[in-house]
């Protein structure tokens, strides 16, 4: 019986009887907040940048102009220019694609492996569960970047390895969440209800367990993309990911760090975009999560 009537009272102010005690009366889920709108707009900007970068920045991201090197932000060069006179705004926009692809692919790899391991652990019985769990415990003993570094040590630096490395290092976390989700869904009372209805196991799995387990992955994935971009850029920064002059944000930052005292804009703007992208992904992820909870 719900008894935090202070809360329930809010929903009941009109005197109606149909109150939803499960629903937290925080903000109406249907109306997006200012932050959400800004995030969505920035997300749109990113998507356009990734798909048709020339629409937003017609210039050549690799085009040099040695005589215009180290121009501070100005009307001609919104984000300034780098050591070879390349326009940083153009490079940031053109770099969106690769950064997003790195983030998405890494997250997809992490989630994919996570789903594989998590589902195996959650569905294939106690022996598999035990084995996978021990395996995850072992992987957890390698903090994220450590696992990535090990992988790079073996397969050499580069964008592809950095992407896979970030994906790998996030997989154990996803696997654990998915396993937990799977187990909680599996033991939930609506799955029992389906058993009582005489549904075969595989149909319960397909119709109830998997959809309810995987739906939250959308949120996880969105949140994960932001973090994956941050980690991949960290690898680029350490010289183990994308290499200059490719307009990848982490690599740009890495190139800019040398000139930090004289040309702060070279590292500031790519960094800002990494941060904003991660924030945007988090906000959108949270927003989806809230909507799903309230739906």
């Amino acid at each position: 019986m719900s008894d935090i009537e202070i809360q329930a009272g809010l929903g009941r102010a009109s005197g109606g009887q149909s109150s939803h005690p499960e629903q937290r009366p925080q903000r109406a889920a249907g109306r997006p907040g200012v932050v959400e709108i800004i995030s969505a707009l920035f997300g749109l900007f990113l998507v356009v940048s990734a798909l048709v970068p020339t629409l937003l920045a017609p210039g050549d991201p690799l085009g040099i102009d040695p005589l215009a090197a180290f121009t501070p932000p100005s009307a001609g060069h919104w984000f300034g220019t780098d050591e070879s006179g390349r326009d940083i705004y153009t490079r940031v926009v053109h770099g969106t694609g690769s950064s997003l692809v790195i983030g998405i692919v890494a997250t997809a790899i992490g989630l994919g492996l996570g789903i594989l391991l998590g589902t195996a652990a959650g569905m294939l019985g106690r022996v598999v569960d035990f084995t996978v769990n021990r395996f995850l415990e072992v992987l957890f003993a390698f903090p994220g970047l450590l696992l990535a570094l090990l992988f790079i040590l073996i397969y050499g630096p580069g964008v592809a390895t950095a992407t896979v490395a970030v994906g790998l290092s996030t997989a154990p976390g996803y696997a654990r969440i998915i396993r937990g989700q799977l187990i909680s869904v599996r033991s939930s009372s609506f799955v029992e209800a389906a058993t009582v209805q005489g549904l075969p196991r595989w149909r319960i799995l397909v119709r109830h367990i998997l959809p309810n387990t995987l739906a939250p992955l959308l949120v996880l994935g969105t949140l994960g993309i932001g973090q994956a971009i941050v980690w991949a850029s960290a690898l680029s920064y350490l010289g183990l990911g994308a290499a200059p002059p490719a307009p990848e944000w982490g690599a740009m930052l890495s190139a800019g760090r040398t000139y930090i005292t004289s040309a702060w804009w070279m590292s500031f703007f790519p960094g800002l975009f990494i941060v904003l992208t991660a924030v945007c992904a988090t906000t959108i992820g949270r927003s989806i999560e809230r909507r799903m909870r309230h739906a």
């Binding site: 019986m1 719900s2 008894d3 009537e5 202070i6 809360q7 329930a8 009272g9 809010l10 009941r12 102010a13 009109s14 005197g15 009887q17 149909s18 109150s19 939803h20 499960e22 629903q23 939930s188 009372s189 609506f190 029992e192 209800a193 389906a194 058993t195 009582v196 209805q197 005489g198 549904l199 075969p200 196991r201 119709r207 109830h208 959809p211 309810n212 739906a215 739906a295």
Partner: protein, 557 residues
């Protein structure tokens, strides 16, 4: 002598401008020292908001207006927060429902109880401890020295409710607000806690008792105020209100209480005066004929135990045997931890017994593989306490019913078109008294009663002959409960269903069951025809249970 509490035209609301959309409106009452006023209402009636306003804790974004609110003669209207703090705990105490969450689970109860002393007195730590021990003793928790170091999670429900009461009366406030103090407690414990409150009242404290349960309040309340939609609709001395209710809503609430209402009596939406048995015995058979009716479900010597974290085993169900006959209701009653739910799960073959067997229609049920059971699954339906949790959150009501109809055990064997399915879904809804408009809605958007009706509709989709109902009405308000009970009753008669009806509520069991089995500690301690067991309980535990059932004072009617 001034009243311990005087409230005149209290109006409370949330958000918006003061005065707009109040949740509590023009509520007035008085409570004298040594008197208990019960405020009764269903969920959403505004009773708890009223109670909390009396402590200045109406909540965030709330506004409170009143002509007068005074405690022991002193006005508390518009008191600043600091002044309120000095009064809370000293002039007025609060007892909430379920001390598991109402006492800080991380702190020892000694500290929680001692907090009032720490906040309002200058007692030394040692003196505080001494006082806490006295308090624990006075609320019936002996051996306080070891108790004070325990946390709420280590105590039983009754013990922690006593601890919570101790914390509220630490400074002997002249006014106590008790908000559903016995809800969620087992009936025997409930009786003890009520007795404790009565004792406190006798000491001279004024009590405002908030409850949804008229029967509970009738035990100790001197006067009753019935609330609905934010207003007091009726108030007066307890006996008067119970015996001669004036307001139709009060009457409906009273009628809805199943305690001592004979089997097949309609509970809902009928004026008290017109309650009349529709038919005493179905199918023209008497209770004594049951043995000759076919047995649809038989449990024999069931045993199921679980491993505790420390490796020892907890025997949840021990040597349980019963038979469920066609078109009868077998009530399974017991307190929390008695093994009722495990029994239900065994009956549904969601658990496998360690020993013993369940058979339905004479065929093996628990002893075969799930695959073999599937053929019979459609004959056994289930209704759950938490209806919402039993629905896949992604699905609409329509989806839920269509899935149920299409399930292997579902009613639709040959693949009908989708139009056919939606017709059947609407029929199912109609059967449980819901408009077909809810088909497109999600269970989360429905009220508790509506959800349970959807749950019943789903169970009926496969045209079952047995329904296992596990606490199907425990989460519902009494009038809604009455509707659901009536519905089940109706359906049973219509469809000759056999019901295994599980509840902790003796009143509900007494009203619903033809035969009853009383469970305690995993065993059935007494079984028999309901009337017999209720009239002449043999087992001391059954006696104890029946004595504890809150009843209205003897009515002369």
């Amino acid at each position: 002598m001034t009243a311990a509490l005087e409230v005149k035209n209290l109006t409370v609301g949330f958000g918006g401008r003061p005065g707009q959309d109040p949740v509590v409106q023009d509520v007035s009452f008085e409570v004298a020292a040594g008197e208990c006023l019960a405020i009764v209402g269903e969920s959403g009636s505004g009773k708890s908001v009223t109670a909390r306003s009396l402590l200045g804790l109406a909540g965030a974004h709330s506004w409170v207006q009143a002509d007068a609110v005074s405690i022991t003669g002193q006005s508390v209207l518009g008191l600043p927060e600091s002044a309120w703090r000095r009064r809370r705990g000293r002039d007025v105490g609060l007892i909430l429902q379920d001390a598991l969450v109402s006492l800080d689970p991380l702190r020892p109860i000694g500290r929680e109880i001692g907090d009032s002393l720490r906040l309002h007195t200058k007692l030394s730590a040692a003196d505080r401890t001494r006082r806490v021990l006295e308090l624990l003793d006075s609320v019936g928790l002996p051996d306080g020295a070891s108790r004070i170091r325990q946390r709420s999670g280590q105590l039983s429900g009754g013990q922690r409710q006593r601890a919570l009461i101790a914390s509220a009366i630490a400074l002997d406030p002249p006014l106590l607000i008790a908000d559903e103090p016995t809800t969620a407690l087992d009936v025997t414990v409930q009786a003890q806690v009520l007795e404790l409150l009565a004792e406190i009242k006798r000491r001279g404290n004024a009590i405002v008792l908030i409850s949804h349960d008229l029967a509970v309040v009738s035990r100790i309340a001197d006067r009753v105020a019935v609330m609905s939609a934010g207003r007091i609709i009726e108030t007066g001395p307890t006996a008067e209100v119970l015996q001669n209710p004036q307001h139709p809503l009060t009457r409906a609430m009273l009628a809805a209480v199943p305690v001592d209402k004979p089997r097949r009596t309609q509970l809902s939406a009928v004026p008290v005066a017109t309650i009349a048995p529709r038919s005493t015995v179905p199918d023209g058979l008497s209770v004594d004929d049951y043995p000759v009716r076919p047995v649809v479900l038989e449990a024999s010597e069931l045993r199921r135990s679980f491993r505790r974290p420390d490796g020892s085993r907890l025997v949840a169900v021990d040597d349980v045997s019963f038979r469920l006959h066609r078109a009868e209701t077998l009530g399974l009653v017991g307190e929390s931890g008695s093994g009722k739910t495990t029994t239900a799960r065994l009956a549904l073959a969601l658990e496998t017994p360690d020993a013993g067997e369940v058979r339905i229609f004479g065929e093996p049920w628990s002893a075969v593989q799930e695959k073999a059971r599937r053929r019979l699954r459609g004959s056994v339906g289930a209704i759950y306490q938490d209806a919402l949790g039993s629905f896949d959150p992604r699905l609409t009501v329509g989806d839920i019913l269509r899935h149920a109809l299409r399930a292997p055990a579902g009613g639709t064997t040959e693949r009908g078109g989708s139009g056919h399915l939606s017709t059947e879904s609407s029929q199912l809804l109609d059967q449980v008294g819901l408009p077909s408009g809810v088909l497109s809605r999600r269970p989360v958007d429905l009220s508790g009663g509506q959800r349970q009706r959807v749950g019943i509709a789903r169970a009926l989709a496969s045209r079952p002959r047995i329904l296992i109902c596990d606490e199907p009405v425990s989460a519902l308000d009494v009038t809604v409960q009455a509707q659901v009970l009536d519905l089940l009753d109706e359906l049973q008669q219509e469809l000759s269903l056999s019901l295994l009806f599980i509840s902790h509520d003796l009143g509900v069991i007494g009203h619903m069951s033809d035969r009853v089995a009383v469970m305690k500690d995993g065993r059935i301690v007494e079984t028999g025809a309901t009337a017999d067991v209720f009239a002449d309980p043999r087992h001391p535990y059954t006696q104890q249970l029946l004595e504890a059932v809150p009843r209205f004072p003897q009515r002369s009617r």
